[in-house]
Assembly symmetry: C2
Homo-oligomer: 373 residues x 2
């Protein structure tokens, strides 16, 4: 197998999604499942069609339950360490779509201690992470979540609820287990060792609240699968359903690396980047094109290596026909780098303008979404 590492704390090496499916023991999201989701939802989602969501656990079981009338709820989240990036939109956009199509409750967990515990950065204080968490919450609700069906909670504000359930999980998780699964060492701090117990709680919290088993679906970046690989086995011991999971690929970096890094500000777009910064960053993005316009027209480019094409594919061009045209232009050399980049920057800036407008409108209404002890 190729040499790579994919855990919530470290993504390194040449990422090979087929190898991930093998190594994690997950299932590819196949055509049959895609069609089944489309049939029930009434339409398909481009991230599923394009296999941005490429793998899954127990999705067919979940849909069986749904068709029997046993509705599921959704659980996703984000661990703040800086401002939200385009990559973070991937789980939240799909989760919002699933909420609408399946009329599902959504639990969004924003652990405002995880990165404080995991990172050495002394500027990342608990207060800092806490205020980042609130900005994240506001970015998330600005994507259109239904306040009547969405609960957002933070570790420091919901610990009374979460900790009690987390100890039930923690009792079944040993140091050996987390050491192997997450790549921890003897020098890892005990807060980080314990944290996975908390992250698993929202995957059965609704069952606790309703006092009956409720199926749960977790859309997540594939690096987060580790938490639930452990938690799913524990949840069975506690008498709950295993949560179903749908796994996303990583949004490539603007430099063409397979995963953008949120700590390298030039390699990604933040949701609060100004139009000027967006333009500059996209201008410097790598494309799959030849070194000169001359050569590009003659030889054409490679959309798979083009960060601009990938931004369209992952997020900014939901229409398959239009995306095909962009890819074709890149491939045939009819789409030149300058135009290509200008178009994307405009598309991103239009999205951000609208997004930030909604955000300011919602700032006073964020409490409609927050749950606290």
């Amino acid at each position: 197998m190729p040499d790579f590492s994919v855990t919530p704390y470290d993504v390194e090496g040449q990422i090979d999604y087929d190898a991930i499916v093998q190594r994690f023991g997950i299932k590819p999201l196949d055509d049959e499942l895609e069609q089944r989701i489309k049939k029930i939802a009434g339409e398909s989602h481009f991230m599923i069609r394009r296999r941005i969501y490429f793998a899954q656990r127990d999705m067919n079981w979940l849909l069986d339950q749904y068709e029997k009338g046993n509705k599921f709820y959704l659980y996703t989240g984000i661990a703040p360490s800086g401002r939200m990036t385009m990559a973070h939109l991937i789980p939240f956009l799909l989760t919002k779509w699933l909420q609408d199509k399946f009329d599902a409750e959504v639990y969004i967990y924003i652990p405002d201690e995880e990165k404080f515990l995991a990172k050495r950065d002394p500027t990342l204080t608990l207060d800092k992470v806490h205020s980042l968490a609130y900005e994240d919450a506001l970015d998330i609700v600005s994507l259109g979540y239904n306040p009547k069906k969405t609960k957002i909670f933070l570790s420091t504000e919901y610990a009374k609820t979460l900790y009690k359930q987390a100890v039930r999980v923690a009792k079944h998780i040993t140091f050996s287990m987390v050491k192997d699964a997450f790549g921890f060492t003897n020098e890892t701090n005990v807060g980080t060792l314990f944290y996975t117990s908390l992250q698993s709680v929202p995957a059965f919290l609704r069952s606790v609240e309703e006092n009956k088993n409720v199926p749960c679906l977790i859309p997540l970046g594939v690096d987060q699968d580790v938490h639930f690989r452990i938690a799913r086995d524990v949840m069975v011991k506690l008498g709950y359903y295993k949560p179903s999971i749908i796994h996303a690929k990583f949004l490539p970096g603007l430099d063409g690396r397979p995963k953008m890094s949120s700590s390298d500000p030039n390699n990604t777009i933040y949701l609060n980047d100004s139009p000027e910064i967006v333009k500059n960053k996209i201008n410097k993005a790598i494309t799959g094109q030849q070194s000169t316009a001359e050569l590009q027209k003659k030889l054409g480019g490679n959309p798979d290596r083009c960060a601009v094409c990938q931004y369209y594919r992952y997020i900014f061009e939901p229409d398959d026909e239009k995306l095909a045209k962009i890819f074709e232009g890149e491939r045939k050399g009819t789409l030149l780098a300058g135009e290509h980049k200008r178009d994307l920057a405009e598309r991103i800036n239009a999205f951000l303008k609208e997004h930030n407008k909604r955000k300011e409108e919602l700032r006073q209404h964020l409490d409609d979404f927050m749950v606290r002890d």
Copy 2:
């Protein structure tokens, strides 16, 4: 050094308190300190005079602060796994006395998940431990704590407050540190690994609440020192005072073993034992006496080996002169086993009768003491 193990999770071997002082790096509670406490408090406490409290950390610093007008608060607690025993009275009786003499606030932490996490007993569910915690709280307040100056809290009810502070501690505690200090292994669960971070929180919680450094004194059984050996160093890193500690010996078992075990029901007295059970248990207790009344009268006995004498010394005879008479009777053979035991059983039953009466009176008022998120 003698071969023994003293941690919160395991007390084994021949306990040698001088060796504990050496090994733990704590200071003996010496005559000078005893006199200093007596001078400030206006009277001395028999558990200090008799060195039931035999060791300490930073007590002179604490009293320096006190004399400068910088008052301390008290922190102690109990981790429920069954009903409270006589041994548990030792920290709570001294803490109550210190509250009265030093006009100190008291924080009592009852972690209602610790034993659930640490023990394999499947009957010890979270709900079970939670209800034991409430019985413990009621036993504690029945010792006469001042409701205006006493706060009692449980992990599951105060986790919002405790967890946020615990992660600040946890960031500085690695697996290596707790492995060595507590004797944990790679198979220890992550809840137990994390727990020490929570136990340390009440030692600086008042400083957080008051937003200024407040000295803290922790009366505890010496097995609990391990938690604070780690936490004291972390607290300095967080900018707080190190808590001062005063360490108690273990109440001997009724069979003469140096530590009664709360899981061996015949080796200790529970606070809810009936008068008949108390009588029977004390009747079976080991004494330092000879095998027959004849021999006892002739040769005399050894009060140091006599569980009955030790119960008087640790808890039930605060008057030194009266205690000296009991010891002398045992030593000289004038006090026979039957009488000796009958007297103690009567003394214990009188205490329990009064205690349980107060307990029922306070049952409706327990909420005056409880703090919750």
